[in-house]
């Protein structure tokens, strides 16, 4: 019985929630970890990371915690690896393995044509539990440009009894760090010019799968003095990193003479700087495509502009560098800018100058707001950034330094507007012909840019059908037009078609199916919305209004709305307006409540008397 109880306690951890309800939760854990990591930075800017782990794996659910994956490429090398699995009950060694026993594979990327990113891996298996798994690994890096971060709790459902991280570095090289949610001890000393800092965390809480990653303890590290290949730099400030990046790309922006002449000819007679930028950006979009090739230092240093011209392709660095060189040729200075891209990516740690970036865009300074160019897109207008890079801190690099700034967020109404005008003719059977024109401004236009640029005709028709506010649209003709106003994306969509059963026949009435589209989370994604929908509906003569038409008027802080329905002769006119501003932080439940409120308010049934249908229910 005692053994059973011990086992039970072993597998779960009590957790008292902070709220007053004092709900006792038990988060199971499948392994127990004790780990020491030692990072040694050498005077020649290389480093070694040694990780020693002892895992007690209680159940088969925890065996994945013993999986090892060690990254390597031209700059990083796996030096050694040892693993031993022991049956705890018998003390017998079950399995031993070394580096030569590890599997080897490439990181598969559908977007990268060629890179040198590979990994060694080892999967531990066991038939009986508990087992003890001891793992020791050593990796060597030729550069301290990027230092590993320390996450004391590597897995969900893992109990960490002790985890320590020691970094040793020549004091002269310097080191910066940022502690996040660390609550343990830190010790520091210096001897013979080598500084040593050790962080130790003990008895850490077990994390469930839905653990909030913002609460995760971790340590971020960055060098002060660093080198990548032969390029030495200092990361004391953002400016230092920026000037190093400029140095890395120095001399790689030389345009071939004939290409330079060709693009300058495109600008003959053009004086307006924005117009020049637009012409060159459009030229880049039409003639160059994104191809990612990342090898060694090439992951950070751009291809030369001449090579990008030669192949008509490049990655973000190569295309941005070429665009910068083209603008330079036109007498327009611009800045190569580093960004951490991703549609829902967290912002960078602004107080830890370090390499936190995975993408490059171009900033063109103007006397007012800078113009931003996403050089890997062949869809966006010059000066507009998609959700991949907007509204976040970026590092603008210049030869003499650089600075951190933010990209635009496009949250005001002019960037988030949708308008539509529809003419509908309903026949006596309730089917309808519809002719619609829609205009999308700013963020909402980007989806239309994608649909126009990337989908074939069947897919485009399907898009129109699926996104029709009344289901069953059979599209006859349609047209997408892109009519951007400078950097504001503007898309116009016109279609005509047939709507099967636009009205529903009930026993006594005709009910128009809801035709004012509902709002969903996508409408709120950009913090504001202006939507105006107008319908002009020609009804069969026999239909007469059944009661008064609904009327809606909303006037609240941050939300105004209007629904007007009038009838003249056989023409029904419907106009809906919604204008919305959304607080910066909107919880999911608040968002749902807001959407329900708006949709419910405008979900009004329009009824007509039906003198032609006489069917009665079975009685």
């Amino acid at each position: 019985m005692l053994a059973f109880l011990l086992g039970f306690l072993w597998f779960t951890e009590s957790f008292v929630a902070d709220d007053t309800s004092k709900i006792l939760q038990e988060i199971p854990y499948y392994s127990i970890l004790s780990q020491n990591q030692t990072l040694t930075v050498n005077p020649d800017f290389t480093y070694t990371l040694v990780v020693e782990s002892t895992l007690t794996v209680n159940t088969s659910d925890g065996i994945d915690h013993a999986y090892s994956r060690l990254f390597y490429d031209k700059l990083n090398e796996v030096k050694s690896f040892e693993v031993e699995v022991t049956d705890i009950l018998t003390g017998k060694s079950i399995k031993k393995a070394r580096l030569k026993d590890m599997g080897d594979a490439a990181y598969y990327s559908s977007s990268t044509v060629f890179d040198d990113n590979r990994y060694k891996y080892f999967e531990v298996s066991a038939a009986k539990f508990p087992v003890e798994v001891k793992i020791k690994s050593e990796v060597f890096s030729k550069t301290n440009f990027f230092l590993p971060k320390w996450t004391p709790i590597p897995n969900y459902h893992q109990k960490v009894t002790e985890s320590s991280f020691t970094v040793r570095f020549p004091t002269e090289l310097g080191l910066k760090y940022k502690e996040l949610n660390l609550k343990g001890n830190k010790t520091q000393d210096e001897e013979l010019g080598i500084t040593s800092i050790t962080w130790t965390e003990k008895d850490l809480p077990v994390q469930p799968k839905d653990f909030d990653s913002d609460e995760d303890p971790k340590l971020l590290l960055a060098p002060v003095k660093f080198a990548l290949d032969t390029y030495v730099g200092e990361m004391e400030s953002w400016s230092g990193l920026a000037s190093w990046q400029s140095e890395l790309n120095k001399g790689r922006d030389v345009l071939p003479g004939d290409f330079r002449e060709k693009i300058l000819r495109l600008l003959e007679g053009v004086n307006d700087p924005y117009e020049k930028i637009k012409i060159l950006y459009t030229y880049l979009q039409k003639n160059f495509r994104y191809v990612s090739i990342q090898l060694g230092i090439g992951g950070w240093q751009t291809m030369t502009a001449a090579d990008v011209v030669k192949y008509s392709y490049g990655d973000c660095k190569g295309l941005t560098n070429l665009m910068k060189a083209m603008l330079e040729a036109a007498g327009i200075p611009s800045n190569y800018t580093l960004v951490y891209a991703g549609a829902k990516a967290d912002d960078i740690e602004v107080d830890l100058p370090s390499n936190q970036f995975n993408h490059v865009i171009l900033q063109v300074p103007t006397p007012t707001q800078p113009i931003w160019l996403e050089c890997t897109s062949n869809l966006l207008p010059a000066g507009y950034l998609g959700d991949f890079t907007r509204d976040r801190h970026v590092l603008v690099t210049k030869p003499d330094g650089g600075y951190l700034t933010k990209t635009p967020a496009y949250v005001s109404e002019e960037w988030n507007e949708i308008r539509s005008q529809s003419k509908v003719v309903i026949d006596p059977q309730g089917n309808a012909k519809i002719d619609t024109k829609q205009q999308f401004f700013g963020n909402f236009a980007t989806e239309i840019l994608y649909v126009k640029g990337n989908l074939d005709e069947r897919q485009q028709r399907d898009y129109l059908n699926r996104n029709s506010s009344v289901s069953g649209l059979i599209v006859e003709g349609y047209q997408f037009d892109i009519v951007n106003k400078d950097s504001l994306p503007v898309a116009e969509l016109a279609f005509d078609g047939f709507l099967q059963k636009f009205s529903q026949a009930t026993a006594k009435r005709i009910i128009l199916r809801p035709f004012l589209g509902k709002l969903g989370p996508d409408h709120l994604a950009n913090k504001s919305l202006k939507q105006v929908d107008e319908y002009e509906i020609q009804l069969p003569e026999a239909w007469q209004p059944d009661g008064n038409f609904p009327h809606v008027s909303m006037d609240e802080e941050n939300l105004t709305g209007l629904l007007e329905i009038t009838m003249e002769g056989d023409i029904l006119r419907v106009r809906r307006e919604i204008s919305l501003k959304i607080p910066e932080k909107l919880e999911k439940s608040e968002e749902t409540a807001l959407l329900k409120k708006i949709n419910t308010t405008f979900d009004r049934t329009i009824l007509f008397s039906n003198t032609t249908i006489t069917q009665s229910p079975n009685e």
Binding site: A127, R289, D462, Q504, K518, K596, N618, E619
Partner: protein, 650 residues
């Protein structure tokens, strides 16, 4: 090869290649001028020509590939990056040689050809013997014509990969030819509606060729999970070879024919032998394993159930479902962890040790690449196992693929038309007909709460068989993610609110999973006209078929019925004002039908709707009718009922 044959080939080849130049650089004016694919407008790129030519030399297959691609739109430029995956293994089982590529652009109206050099080819080692050749074409523009060719060597000549005619973008011309040496004989396995109906075929003097034109690009379509089973392709299985007397060194030419394929009986016996060497036909270890289990009494069905749950609940189900096993039976019993195929075979061992007649059945599962079983005996058409048992005189198919499935459930991907029954000396193809009534019954009781003014719809969904199993998985996923059961229903951001979701899993006892929940309309009592949809949860209230046309059949996977019954209890002070009209519809051939009925029973109004899928596979020719039908269904399922407050006279 003798001189006469060479002449025949010389005459034959131009004939085979007629209609389309498949030589690099020989681009026709028509191809130069092509701006879009007439039958697939807006396609980003098109394969103008694809050609494959296979020969067998010295016990290896060599296939010369040639492709000509045209970029038609900006987005189509992504097709200027080519990836060719091959399995090199540890001894170059497959290898690529002779890569050539060039791009042709029109400059000033004249074609300018750029030949690719080594810097444009990348050979990637993906690990586990897999490699990938990647080609990035420089100067790819809208209008560019890309051509590439290579030779692939393959040391395996028992089963030849052959040719797949479609690509992700349209293919206007696809031709494959193969020369079979006269000392080898292959069975051709061809598949796909286009190949059957409109392929241009030729066969002369050991040359066989197939041409297909104007093929759609492969794109996903709703209600078709396994479109790979419908793609047009040809493959070849070695059936016999002629060998010299006493050579014994493989498939060398000689006077005597030797059967390679044998027959179903021998193929079955080979597999049985394989499983026997792995220990799966031995009962001793199994009997020891089952000592703790009481399997003494009861019917065969009861014993089979007990053993099923023992394996399901005491072994970890991990790994790919496959007809070959990594472990032996003793290893499996020790590790308590195995792939579905291993667990199935261990289960067979238990049943056999109990004297129950039980045998494996090999099948080609859905998505493995074949919609029909190939009626001659080769093994590579099978990928998964199930069991057939005789329990108390009843035939029962058994499976252990799904750790959450109760006894008797067979993974839906294994619901195929037939399989190979493995039985010593009498293995044979058998039909597979797994009967189940995976229906859905939805019952709703609708009341207006006079105190709160809320319109309460109390719903019960009874999901039977595989519909129920689907719910079991969804519930488990929510539990794993610590999500509320309300998430079983997609948030619609509309007026109704979902409350009090309760799931009752009676799948093992009654083949049923019940889901009870309330949908609530707040402040309903304040309205003079109460307009609402009484059927709240049908997934067919929105037509899933929105595409203009269909390339693959619509596959509902199995026949089923969905029946909705809503009883509206007329609240005091209200009268039924309006309701949806009755309707009964179907499409030609009646593979699917729908009825909708409203009955006024006085204080109760009863709405009944039934959707019945009788033939789950509906061919593309019927798509237009099906689309129109489902639109009518959607419209009806979303129709409102109107209750009206009775005006009180003063």
């Amino acid at each position: 090869m003798n001189r006469a044959l060479l002449i025949v080939i010389a005459v034959l080849l131009p004939l085979l290649s007629s209609g389309q130049s498949v030589k690099m650089g020989e681009i026709s004016q028509e191809e130069m001028d092509l701006k879009e694919v007439p039958y697939e407008t807006g396609a980003g790129a098109v394969y103008l020509a694809s050609f494959g030519d296979s020969r067998i030399f010295n016990g290896s297959l060599e296939t010369q590939y040639f492709h000509r691609v045209k970029i038609l739109t900006e987005a189509g430029k992504e097709h200027a990056d080519i990836r060719i995956r091959y399995f090199a293994g540890t001894n170059n089982v497959e290898n690529l040689t002779g890569m050539k590529a060039q791009i042709t652009n029109l400059e000033g109206g004249k074609p300018v050809v750029t030949k690719l050099d080594k810097s444009n080819f990348f050979d990637i080692d993906l690990g586990d013997g897999l490699k990938e050749l990647r080609i990035s074409f420089p100067n790819a523009q809208v209008g560019s014509i890309l051509e590439y060719s290579y030779k692939k060597g393959d040391k395996n000549i028992e089963f030849l990969d052959g040719w797949t005619f479609q690509k992700s973008v349209p293919v206007m011309y696809s031709e494959y030819q193969i020369k079979i040496p006269d000392h080898l004989e292959y069975k051709t396995i061809s598949q796909g509606a286009n190949l059957y109906s409109r392929a241009e075929r030729k066969s002369d003097y050991g040359y066989f060729s197939w041409i297909l034109r104007d093929l759609y690009g492969l794109k996903e379509e709703p209600f078709m999970r396994n479109y790979r089973d419908y793609v047009d392709r040809v493959e070849f299985q070695l059936s016999r070879y002629r060998s010299g007397s006493g050579s014994g060194s493989g498939y060398t030419a000689g006077p005597e024919w030797t059967d390679f394929l044998n027959n179903w009986e021998k193929l079955g016996d080979e597999l049985i032998e394989y499983y026997t060497t792995k220990g799966f036909y031995r009962t001793n270890p199994i009997e020891r394993e089952m000592l703790s289990l009481d399997l003494g009494g009861g019917t065969q069905l009861e014993k089979a159930k007990t053993a099923y749950y023992y394996i399901r609940d005491n072994f970890v189900n991990e790994g790919s479902d496959w007809i070959y096993t990594d472990q032996t039976l003793p290893q499996l019993l020790k590790s308590k962890k195995g792939a579905p195929g291993e667990l199935i075979l261990a289960y067979m061992g238990i049943l056999r040790s109990l004297g129950i007649e039980c045998n494996p059945v090999l099948i080609g599962s859905k998505g493995y690449g074949r919609s029909e079983i190939v009626p001659f005996p080769f093994l590579s058409q099978f990928d998964e196992i199930l069991l057939i048992a005789n329990l108390d005189g009843q035939t029962q198919f058994l499976d252990l693929s799904d750790p959450m499935a109760p006894f008797g459930y067979v993974d839906l991907d294994k619901h195929v038309k037939g399989g190979l029954l493995l039985e010593k000396n009498s293995s044979r193809l058998i039909p597979i007909d797994i009967k189940h009534a995976s229906n859905k019954l939805v019952y709703s009781s609708i009341n207006l709460d006079p105190e709160t003014g809320e319109l309460l719809i109390d719903n019960t969904i009874r999901n039977f068989f595989y519909e129920g199993l689907d719910y079991v998985h969804r519930v488990k996923n929510l539990e794993n993610d610590n999500k509320p059961m309300e998430d079983l229903f997609k948030e619609s951001y509309e007026a109704f609110e979902i409350r009090n979701v309760k799931v009752t899993d009676q799948l093992e006892e009654k083949n049923m999973v019940s889901v009870q929940f309330q949908s609530v309309l707040k402040d309903a009592g304040e309205q003079d006209l109460l307009v609402f949809n009484p059927l709240q949860i049908s997934e067919f209230a929105k037509n899933p078929f929105t595409q203009d046309f269909r390339v693959f059949p619509v596959d509902f996977e199995y026949s089923f019925k969905e029946t909705y019954t809503a009883n509206i209890n007329l609240p005091e002070g209200y009268e039924l004002d309006d309701y949806p009209t009755n309707e009964t519809i179907t499409i030609p051939g009646a593979p699917i039908a729908f009825t909708f009925l409203t009955e006024n029973l006085g204080e109760v109004v009863k709405i009944t709707a039934k959707l019945e899928v009788r033939s789950p596979l509906i061919q593309p020719e019927s798509y237009g009718d099906l689309k129109f039908f489902m639109e009518s269904v959607a419209s009806k399922l979303a129709s409102p009922v109107i209750l009206k407050k009775i005006e009180k006279s003063l």
